[in-house]
Each structure stands twice: as C-alpha cells, then as structure tokens.
C-alpha cells in the first residue's frame, strides 16, 4: 500500500535506496541464516542511507559526499585501466585477473581500513537503535551492508575498463560477466575481512577496549597495506608462468586474488579438480567470510560503540590548570587572547577528537609507510655509482598538511560551535591562526620529523642533508597547497559525509600528481650538483616561510549555522 503524501520520505523517491532494499530482499535468506533480523536491518540501513543522502541545507555542502564517491570511483577506474591494458597487451588471463583483482583488493583494503572502517564504529544511529529491540548482530549487519553499498559502486568503476578491454581478448561473455562478478567477490571479501577483523577484536578485547583495539587495527592495516601492494606486484610473475612465484605456489593458488583464476579456467572448460576447488573458493569465500563475521558479532556490539573512545578516559595525565609544555609554548607565542584561545583549544582537542584521530592517523601512517618504503635505498645492480634518489619518497608526506587541514574541520561535537558564535571574536582569522599553528606544530611537524628520523636511521645515518631537504620541500609544498583549501575553524563542522568539501578533495587529489610530476623531478634535478642543491634548499626554505606566512593569514569560512 502506498503511503499518504505527507508520510512519504526521500527514501521513497531515491532510486539508490530502492535498489539497495531490493538487493537486501534478495539476500534475505542468507541474512536470516546468519541470524540477522531482515526487517530491522532494512530500517537501519535505510536510515543510514537517508542520513548520507540528505543534503544538510543549513550546514552548507550537500554535494560533498557525492563528489567524494565520484573521485574515489575515478581513482578505482584509473587502476582498472592499468590492469586492463597490461592484461590485453600480455594476452594473459592470469595477469588480467590477478593484477586487476590484486590492485582492486589493495586499493579497496587501503580505503576500507584507513577511512571507511570508521563507518562500522560511528554513533550516528545509535541513539535510535540502542534502546530498541534490535539485536547487536542486526546493528552490525546494517553497518556492513551500508559499507557494501559504496563498495559495490567502487567495484563498478574498478571493473569497467578491464571488462571492456578484456572483451577484445578473453571473450565478451567472460569479460563482461565473469570479470565484474570476480570484482564483486573481491569487494565482498574485503568488506568481510574488515568486518571479521572488527568482530574478532570485539571478541578478543571486549566492549570496553573495542574502540581502541579497532583504531590500532586500522592503523596497523593502513601501515601494512603498502607492503601488501609491493608483495602483490612482486608475487606476480610476468615471465611466462601462469602463477605467482613457483616456490610459494602450493599456498598462493588458494589465496586471493589468485584463486579467482580457477573460475576463469572453469569457464574455458578446464574442469579439473584444482580449478573447480579454486572456483568454489572464489565464490564461497566472500559469503563464508560474511557469515562467520555476522555469527561472531553477536554480543556487546552496541555496548562497545557506546563505550569510551580511543582518546581514553577522564583527564588522564593532566590535572587542574596545568597544561602540557607544548601548549604552554604555543600560548606564549600567541598574539592576544583570541589566538591563544585558538591554539589552546586546537592543541587540547587534536589527539582526542575521535573523528580527526580516526581519519587522520591511519592515513598518516599509511602515507608514512609508503614514504618509508620508497625511501629505503635500493640494491644497486651493476651501477654502483648511480645516485640513490630514494629519499624523494619522503615527498609523499607533503599530503599530510592538506589532509590535516581538511580533516581537522570535523567533529562529532561541532554543535558546540555556538560557543564561538556567542563570543565577541573581533577577527576569526586570529582564532584560526592559533588553530593552524597548533595543528602544524603539534600534529603535522612531529609526524614528518619522526618519519625523517626513521628513514635516516634505516639508511644507516646516511644522507641527512638530502632527507632534511626532502622533508623541507614536502612541508613547503604542503603549506603552499594548503593555502588553496577552503578552511573552517577547527572542529566546527559536524562530521558527516555530506560535509566533505569538493574543492578540498580536488586540491588533495591534485597534490598527489604534484608530488609525482613536479616535486620529485625538482628534487632530483636540484640534487644533481651541489650548487643546484644549495639553490634548491634556499628556494624551498623561502617557499616554506612564505607558505607558513600565507597559512597564518587564511581567513576561515564563515561559521556554519547551528543545526
């Protein structure tokens, strides 16, 4: 029966929500088998999607979320092009599938663990679900399905080019049907792995330590992801053999993404026991993973979400009016009370604000590990005299600055910005100056310096000047790039996917290209001669000073209306 007009919601008009609900209906037998209450999971899922889709008119934005998804889809399709072209030119199905699915799994794993894992532990709908008769497993399932909706969209982008390009070489049916199916299986496997990790963490650490455990799990996974990427690229043999490194073959043929090749072979009529087993594994593993995950997530999930966050309990390590030395130093160098308020506030919240910590730290670790991997000296085969440019990997750290600026805008408690609105602030710039100074001094700079020190130690105390130069260049470029961002006063925007700023996302995306096409060549070119290096360092130091000065003059966007 159709609802009266006054009772119709955006869910009734949304094509996405209607499609998702149909898909959940189709999955109902599986969900019931996993112990999920299908009717209630649909209610929770619909609400979560509605919250994503509802433009927060009074909070500005509204398109940010869609733009974020489109940018992610763009990044996924770009990797798809690489896999498709390599598979097509090598005319090898194992490379086409193995490389394509490996890259997809790697990118999706990074995204899920570093960013979207937070969707599993956010508290958006808890007030709605916690006091009502909804099982913990159902709440967990709603979150997994919510995550899966976006993962499926990304899978479409990832599968598009390899499928289209593969159709020319591997048969239209196999390319246009099998490849997307394999991509979907890989995606569900990744979501299942994330869910399983969280469910195991809940079992192992209990509700009180769940938030902290999953937070470190995210960091660990995001840090390990670059290693996985390198393992995939090195494990793939391009030299005539159909499978990864021979010595590991017995184990690897069962491991994702290699097991999917079995399904491809079966569709070609090679129905031997090995291929059949691998095909069955390729199809069953994602569902099995989801099933185990949901069975495990049966207790204390809501309690775990309601428990204290990773920032810890009450006032640990601080008593009374005393402030940490860095906060005192920041207060001392501030000009006037407003700037002091800005830096004290930002310094205090920086490593406690759940939204920022959950978003920034895994990305920072992931970027740092990537930078570290690229910065390790290579084995020199034959050309011993060839100069080592590996320290250029540190330039990746440039992205920490704009990422920190973007992510520190958000807070779960942004409604408290009424305090700023009700205060007699003569110049919001001063407040932001304090904010940004604390963010750079207490957040970004220590991370960059720590990574520089680590690279220096790993290289055996070699090339301190080059490392320092690369770090300075990364910092200067990061500051310059950050001046292009739309900046809000810190922690004043309600954490919500719709609040993402499309311009900032574009600037950060462009920053990646800047590292590859401008900064790295500049660093390498200026290191070719001592005089050029000296000039490069001087120019970079000037750019850093200028970037800092310009950052300290940024005018914040007007404080958003209160919700």
């Amino acid at each position: 029966m159709k609802a009266p007009r006054t009772w119709r919601t955006r869910a009734d008009a949304s094509l996405l929500i209607r499609c998702v609900m149909r898909a959940v209906d189709a999955l109902a037998p599986f969900l019931r088998a996993a112990g999920v209450d299908v009717a209630r999971v649909k209610v929770l899922l619909e609400t979560r999607l509605l919250l994503d889709l509802n433009p927060l008119a009074r909070d500005g934005g509204g398109m940010g979320f869609a733009i974020g998804i489109v940018l992610s889809m763009l990044a996924f399709s770009m990797l798809g092009i690489i896999a498709g072209v390599i598979g097509l030119t090598m005319k090898r199905a194992d490379v086409w599938i193995g490389l394509g699915q490996g890259l997809h799994l790697f990118q999706l794993g990074m995204l899920l663990f570093a960013q979207h894992g937070a969707l599993l532990v956010d508290r958006t709908d808890l007030a709605l679900a916690a006091p009502r008769p909804v099982s913990e497993r159902t709440v967990f399932a709603a979150r997994l399905l919510h995550l899966s909706v976006y993962v499926v969209l990304l899978s479409c982008a990832s599968a598009f080019f390899p499928s289209v390009l593969g159709a020319f070489e591997f048969g239209a049916l196999r390319a246009l049907v099998l490849y997307p199916l394999l991509t979907l299986c890989s995606s569900l496997l990744a979501v299942g792995a994330l869910g399983l990790a969280f469910a195991l963490a809940l079992r192992a650490f209990g509700p009180q330590r769940f938030q902290r455990a999953t937070f470190w799990l995210q960091i660990l996974a995001a840090s390990a992801a670059p290693f996985f990427g390198i393992a995939v690229s090195r494990g793939m043999s391009f030299g005539g053999d159909a499978l990864p490194a021979r010595a590991l073959e017995p184990l690897l043929w069962l491991a994702p993404p290699w097991h999917q090749i079995g399904l491809y072979e079966c569709t070609r009529g090679a129905l031997d026991a090995q291929h059949l087993a691998r095909a069955a594994l390729a199809l069953a593993l994602p569902l099995l993973g989801m099933l185990v995950t949901l069975r495990l997530a049966s207790r204390h999930f809501v309690l775990a979400l309601l428990a204290g966050d990773e920032a810890g309990g009450a006032g640990r390590g601080q008593s009374g009016w005393s402030a940490p030395p860095l906060a005192r130093a920041l207060a001392r160098i501030a000009h006037g009370a407003t700037e002091r308020a800005g830096s004290g506030f930002a310094h205090a919240l920086l490593w406690r604000e759940r939204t920022f910590v959950r978003a920034f730290l895994p990305q920072a670790f992931s970027l740092s590990m990537t930078a570290l991997l690229f910065s390790l000296p290579r084995r020199r085969s034959g050309a011993a005299s060839m100069q080592d440019w590996s320290h250029a990997g540190l330039l990746m750290l440039m992205l920490l600055v704009p990422c920190a600026f973007e992510m520190a805008r958000f807070s779960e408690h942004a409604g408290a910005r009424w305090i700023l609105k009700a205060a007699p602030i003569r110049e919001a710039k001063q407040l932001l100056r304090g904010n940004l100074r604390a963010l750079l001094v207490a957040g970004v700079a220590p991370a960059m310096l720590a990574m520089g020190a680590l690279v220096w130690l790993v290289r055996g105390g070699d090339g301190a000047l080059e490392i320092g130069y690369a770090l300075l260049l990364a910092f200067a470029a990061g500051l310059q790039l950050a001046t292009r961002l739309d900046v809000d006063l810190l922690f004043t925007v309600q954490a919500n996917p719709n609040a993402a700023n499309w311009k900032n996302s574009g600037v950060i995306f462009g920053g990646m290209l800047l590292v590859i096409f401008v900064l790295a060549p500049f660093l390498i070119a200026t290191c070719l001669h001592p005089l050029a290096e000296a000039a490069g360092i001087a120019l970079t130091a000037f750019a850093a000073w200028d970037g800092w000065r310009r950052c300290m003059r940024i005018a914040p966007l007007a404080l958003r209306a209160l919700d």
Partner: protein, 259 residues
Amino acid sequence: MTRALVEIHGLVKSFGAHKVLDGIDLEIRAGEIVGYIGPNGSGKSTTVKILIGLLARDAGEVGLCGFDPGREPLEAKARLGYVPETALLYESLTVAEHLLFVGRLHGLADEVIRERADACLETFELSGRLGARIGTLSKGMRQKLLLTSALLHQPSVVILDEPLSGLDVGSALLVKELVRELAARGRAILFCSHVMDVVERLCDRIAILHGGRIAAEGSFEELRGRLAGGSLEGIFAGLTGESNGREQALRLVERLRFE
C-alpha cells in the same frame, strides 16, 4: 528609574511563510529578573538567538546595553552571558581547557580566568573535576560548567535558558539564589523556563509569549489580578488555550488502544 539593558521593540522574524515573532516588545532593566515563558514553538528560543546574535531579525529594534547585536555584535556579546538550553560542548576538552577557551575568547587573561573559575567551581563543588573531560560529567555538572562559563567575564546581561535543567535540589536552590544576587548587583536577567513555579517565585516580571506576540506581561501579582487562574500555570493555560491535558491524554490512550 534604572536604564533598560535589554530593549526589544517590534521584533519580527519569519522562517519562510511562518511568522515566528510578530512584533515583540520587551525591556529588561538593570537589577530585574524577567521570566520569558511560552508554549513549545512560540518563539522563545528565536528571541534568545536574535539577542545573542546567532540569528538575524527581519524587522524591529534590539539593544543589549545600548548595542545592537546585529550591527555591533562584538560590543553586545562582550556584555552578555548565556546559558543555552542544550549543553552542547566539546566533550573531549577538560573542564579547565573549556574554561580557558571561553575566557580567552572574551579576552580575559589566564590568571583572571583561573581566579574567577576557581571561585565558581568551588561553589558548585566542581573543583575536583578541573582535569576531567566534559564527556565524563553528569548533566547537572555540565549545567554548572555552563553557568561558570557564562559568568567568567562578569556580563551585564545574563540569558538563562532552562538553567535548572539536570540540577539536584541543592544546586537548584544555589542557582536561584545566585540569580537573585546577580540581579541585586545590577545585572539584567532573562529567565526562560517551562517550570512555572520557579518562574512565579523567582522573577520580578513575567512575559508570556503566544502566537509570536507577548500575550501578557507584568509581575505575577499583576497577572493574577488581571487574568483568571490562581497560579502561573493556570494563568498560562488560560492565556494560551492549553488545557490541563487530562482529556487529551485520555483520548490518546483510547486511540492507541491500550488495555
């Protein structure tokens, strides 16, 4: 006669086609406590938001200590202390960090903030919680923190929106006495509440808002003399057309088919 610290004349505010405030006139003089009451959605919070400068008005004049919050927001806000109805705060800040933040926003030196806050927190029995994260405080403690924040800069006008919400009996008594004492020292107090007996006993004057207009205004005795109803609750119900709720409750229970 003392000067009016809060002046509202012909205040109009609409949201789309819905006129929330339709020509409000209200003055609060130094030393006066004015109760501002009205049914849900009558425009109390809208008036307060306009006074604080969180919302722009459509028409009319508003003054806080002679400054227009719309045109001279800094001067007006510097003289204003505000306790909101909902205690939205940065929960990861400690009590000390929050107070330093708010005090600094008002341009106070850290020593002054500490001295005044220590006095308030001692009175509110919160001294031991200086290092505690706000997220760990009870509702009553947060309310006390909001009161402390509102008084740090010694405002001339204090706007209290449901200030007794979540407070225990002792703390509620303390806050009521504090409000009286502030008024005795020349502060103008706007007291918004749904708790009629508190408004009846505490406020020098009461303004009843209904349908976007002030339906009645005066001391409790004046209102009782003019309008029917022995208590403020009765006067309020008579003016706003609110019933005592018994009949509506009965009808609802029947419609919901409770056995």
